[in-house]
């Protein structure tokens, strides 16, 4: 390894580029949506880049003292939530914050920290085929958005997804299949029937053979 390193040199591009290991000029906002019957849960992970952290901090640290208080955290989580919109079948949903967590300011400043916001919304009963729309307009100028849905449990199925190029607008097509009619399977379900049939055919057969055996 030493010998290899002795000869190692960096290409010109790397040589003039500082060794960034952190997010730089974007505010990454990754949302994961999960669904179950009558309920939607969202997890929003926000990672401000170093170069844009000033803009983000200005919105969090409203008293400008250079620190983030509990009250400022709460207010910021609420602010983020107001920049989101959720609707199901054209009707607006009303998400509420379930919890939030801020990494230490030092980490956030370096582009390494994350702000996590969990939110919940009630999903009212609707038709078997449904459309869910999620929008994120928080800090649109500096943000890179990601949005995905976790594979839901049966009977909910995701039948389609579409997004705008920057993923600030996300549409989810859902189908909620009716519970299946219990049908006998080829496994253990038919076993009692096979057993009964075998007995019905087998018993007279054995009985007749015994009788004919006695006669001979």
């Amino acid at each position: 390894m030493k010998a290899r390193l002795a000869g190692a040199c960096i290409l010109a591009l790397v040589a003039v580029t500082p060794a960034f290991a952190h997010r730089l000029d974007e505010y990454l906002q990754a949302t994961t949506i999960s669904l179950d019957k009558g309920h939607l849960h969202g997890l929003l992970r926000l990672t401000p880049g170093v170069a844009v952290f000033g803009k983000v901090l200005a919105e969090i640290d409203t008293n400008g003292d250079g620190a983030i208080s509990q009250a400022e955290e709460t207010a910021y989580a609420d602010k983020v939530l107001t920049d989101l919109s959720l609707s199901a079948d054209g009707k607006r949903l009303d998400p509420a914050i379930a919890s939030y967590k801020f990494d230490k300011l030092e980490l956030l400043k370096r582009g390494l920290g994350e702000i996590e916001i969990d939110f919940d919304a009630t999903l009212p009963a609707g038709p078997p085929v449904r459309k869910l729309v999620f929008e994120n307009h928080h800090q649109g100028r500096i943000s890179a958005y990601l949005v995905n849905c976790l594979v839901p449990e049966y009977p909910i199925r995701v039948t389609g997804q579409s997004r705008t190029r920057n993923q600030s607008h996300y549409e989810l097509d859902l189908s909620q299949e009716p519970p299946p009619v219990a049908a006998p399977t080829h496994g253990t379900g038919l076993l009692p029937w096979y057993s009964a049939s075998a007995l019905l055919v087998g018993i007279p057969f054995v009985w007749m053979r015994r009788r004919s055996g006695r006669r001979s």
Partner: protein, 351 residues
């Protein structure tokens, strides 16, 4: 009489030995290497034997220590501290034993990839002009063992640092490499006049697969939106997102083979026996596996792609995500390899 019987006994024994030797010669017998797990356990025991009692305490964790399992990241160890022993904390003998353990656990190709990632980080350290002595470099890669190395009882080997996190659960003859992260910055450098791209094959094979698609396939495979980072990176254990892109059932036989070859770049990091078993599993679910691409659909000769792609199957998630940190997307890459049904071997060990 006694003499005669002794002679005949010796004759029979000699004949038997001759027959055995002849059979051995005909069968082309050679001493067989230890099977995968026995070889790894021997190497792990040999490594542990080189450590002081205090080092052993820092090196060993309980197999079901979930905090230690999840203590990995794409970030440098200065930002996200790892536990275990760093290469810089080991003397020459201990370091050599640690690398022997890695060599026993990984394939030759996997070991080479790991070395190139580690060396890339050393290059990054040199390139930072000494500013980041405690942030980057080959001394800041950690090794840790969860559980007791055994050929029968499950245990885990972790090796990682900046841009590398290998979590290898050994359960009998199984070697489960999920979740694991590979990355590279710089993703292209030269040493001794030779160009090194630690994740070059992942880039080239991904591009080749995309280029093999016809127009209809490309429309399905290429996403209309930008994917700025890994979706299922560190901290996202056990999650399965709704798959997107082109399903392998819509690929022809050659394209399916190309997809499997691409997947093998991650699967094949671990030793051959474990990799073969895993490839068999992935092959069984291949028709239900999806390939999605986002970003530039061209690449400059000899460079890495500046595009994101994802491979997702019933027991598989792979993401390749160029990073927009420091300018050139192709020079900084993160990748993740998961089995949401078996991350940290939970599907097999139940722990």
């Amino acid at each position: 009489m006694k003499d005669v019987s002794m002679k005949s006994a010796c004759g029979v024994a000699a004949l038997g030995l001759a027959c055995t030797l002849a059979a051995v010669a005909l069968s082309g017998y050679a001493p067989q290497p230890q099977p995968g797990t026995a070889r790894i356990v021997s190497a792990a025991d040999a490594f542990l034997a080189t450590l002081t009692p205090d080092q052993r305490k820092r090196e060993l964790f309980a197999f079901d220590d979930n905090e230690q399992r999840a203590r990995w990241s794409n970030l440098p160890t200065g930002f996200v501290p790892r536990a275990g022993l760093s290469m810089g904390q080991l003397n020459v003998t201990q370091r050599s034993a640690a690398m022997a353990l890695m060599a026993a656990t990984l394939s030759p190709k996997g070991l080479e990839k790991v070395k190139e990632i580690v060396e890339g980080d050393e290059v990054l350290k040199q390139g930072s002009g000494g500013r980041d002595q405690n942030m980057f470099g080959k001394d800041l890669f950690y090794i840790s063992i969860l559980g007791t190395p055994s050929a029968k009882t499950p245990w885990m080997l972790q090796f990682g640092g900046h841009h590398l996190a290998l979590n290898i659960t050994i359960a009998g003859e199984q070697g489960i490499l999920t979740p694991s992260l590979t990355g590279a910055q710089p993703a292209l450098y030269t040493e001794n006049g030779k160009t090194i791209r630690p994740l070059g094959a992942e880039s080239d094979k991904g591009m080749a697969l995309l280029n093999s698609f016809d127009e209809t396939q490309r429309k399905q495979a290429i996403l209309s939106f930008r994917v700025a980072d890994l979706v299922l990176g560190p901290g996202q254990d056990g999650k399965t997102i709704v798959p997107e892109g082109l399903k392998a059932s819509s690929m022809n036989a050659k394209q399916k083979a190309m997809l499997l070859d691409l997947i093998s770049e991650w699967v094949g990091i671990v030793h051959e026996g474990a990799a073969n078993a895993r490839m068999k599993e992935i092959k069984a679910g291949l028709d239900e596996t999806w390939f999605a691409w986002s970003g530039s659909t061209t690449v400059a000769l000899g460079k890495n792609i500046a595009a994101y792609y994802r491979i997702q199957g019933p027991k598989l998630v792979i993401e390749y995500a160029p990073q927009r940190l420091g300018g050139d997307l192709s020079m900084h890459v993160h990748t993740i390899y998961r089995d949401p049904t078996n991350d940290y071997g939970r599907g097999v060990t139940g722990k």
